[in-house]
């Protein structure tokens, strides 16, 4: 069998997804036996013009991580879409927006202002902001346009598969590699993770009891055997797809939902709001107000990784 041609790319990302691929350790040799890597900025010195010169559909599989937030990221997403037979949204940013999608709670102008003018480490008395085009003595410099919104990969181009996780776990990556090796990829559109929720896969004891207070994580040391939500900690497990190996809950930390919504759930945050509301002991309006006030950062908690793909998508913009 001819070797597969594999590309990996990062858009609005931290590089953790790329490192996760390297975390397969010696099994990376299996990947090398299976595939020739034709583009991978973190590890290999290919340039954009090399990709542009490739025939259309000549890349067998592209693992694309990171959100899409700029004209450059959109351009490369479209370029790799044209060059690839199978495009995989790899990691939570490409699948759902991820942590960078928390920026959808602010406007582009607010982000620019904070990052380049207000931040205490800046020295920028002229309040210079990045420009798309800038004349210098020698000629013109260009930068990509920063978009108003953080987008998922699938909001920009058609995507064949989704591999969630921040980052995807080694087990999931090997599942993808094995599926490629044996030519047994699932139906197009599949999320390559568990079909169950994290709650279904969690070993903790659930007693179906009500809670009377929501705690912040530093306020209590939870019982390591019992359900975190039933101890009053906001755990996203019931609204989150499984397949991560329960990494966080196994170390007594509540889930923050990086695997995105489970099958059949349109909005992960709304699903958890519903779960919390149903477990909270309320006898009247006062209890409901108490519950609401105990959630210190509802948007940033319920939509920690999923703002772009949620029904909310972003905070409402006041357009003039």
């Amino acid at each position: 069998m001819a070797k597969l041609k594999l590309a990996l790319y990062w858009a609005g990302a931290c590089g953790g997804c790329d490192v996760a691929v390297l975390d397969v350790n010696e099994k990376i040799l299996d990947v090398a036996n299976l595939a020739d890597i034709v583009f991978w900025p973190i590890a290999l010195d290919f340039k954009y013009h090399h990709v542009e010169a490739m025939p259309d559909k000549s890349i067998d599989v592209c693992l694309f991580n990171g959100c899409v937030r700029s004209s450059e990221q959109e351009h490369i997403a479209k370029l790799l879409r044209n060059k690839s037979q199978v495009l995989v949204a790899f990691g939570s940013c490409a699948c759902f927006g991820g942590i960078p999608a928390l920026a959808n709670f602010a406007t582009r102008a607010e982000i620019m202002e904070r990052a380049y003018i207000e931040a205490p480490s800046n020295e920028n008395p002229n309040k210079t902001l990045p420009q798309i085009k800038f004349k210098v003595d020698e000629g013109e410099l260009t930068l990509p346009e920063l978009y108003d919104d953080v987008l998922t990969l699938a909001q920009v181009v058609p995507v064949e598969y989704f591999v969630p996780g921040c980052p995807p776990t080694v087990d999931l990556i090997l599942k993808v590699v094995n599926a490629l090796a044996t030519n047994s990829l699932p139906p197009v559109g599949a999320v390559i993770a568990s079909e169950k929720t994290l709650c279904d896969e969690c070993d903790r004891k659930k007693e179906n009891k009500k809670i009377t207070k929501i705690y912040r994580t530093h306020e209590i040391i939870p019982d390591p055997e019992k359900c975190l939500l039933e101890q009053g900690l906001l755990c996203m497990g019931s609204a989150t797809r499984g397949g991560c190996g329960s990494l966080c809950v196994k170390v007594n930390i509540p889930c923050r939902g990086c695997f995105g919504p489970p099958a059949g759930v349109a909005d992960q945050g709304a699903k958890l709001v519903s779960a919390v509301a149903s477990i909270y002991e309320t006898k009247g309006t006062e209890d409901i107000e108490k519950m609401v006030n105990e959630v210190v950062d509802p948007a940033g908690t319920f939509y920690r990784f999923g703002m772009s793909s949620s029904m909310l998508k972003r905070k409402h913009l006041q357009r003039k």
Binding site: W10, G12, A13, C14, G15, G16, C17, D18, V19, P41, I42, A43, L44, D45, F46, K47, Y48, R69, S70, E72, G98, I99, P100, L102, A103, F105, A106, E110, I111, M112, R114, A115, A119, P130, V136, D137, E138, G139, L141, L143, P144, L146, C166, P167, R216, T217, H218, R256, V296, D297, G300, T301, R304
Partner: protein
Amino acid sequence: MKKISIDPITRLEGHGKIEIFLNDEGDVVNTYFQIPELRGFEKFCEGRPVEEMPRIVPRICGV
């Protein structure tokens, strides 16, 4: 003036490009290093619970 673009810069964490301007003799006149990306942690961490920061800011750099 001739321009050489190195885009993207590879084998490091993050996004960058380098523009090198050359004169007619082929000597370097000036070089510009540019960061074509911004995610905005400086802004979107504001107002979030301090105890959640260890779960948000590691995503500045995962390398």
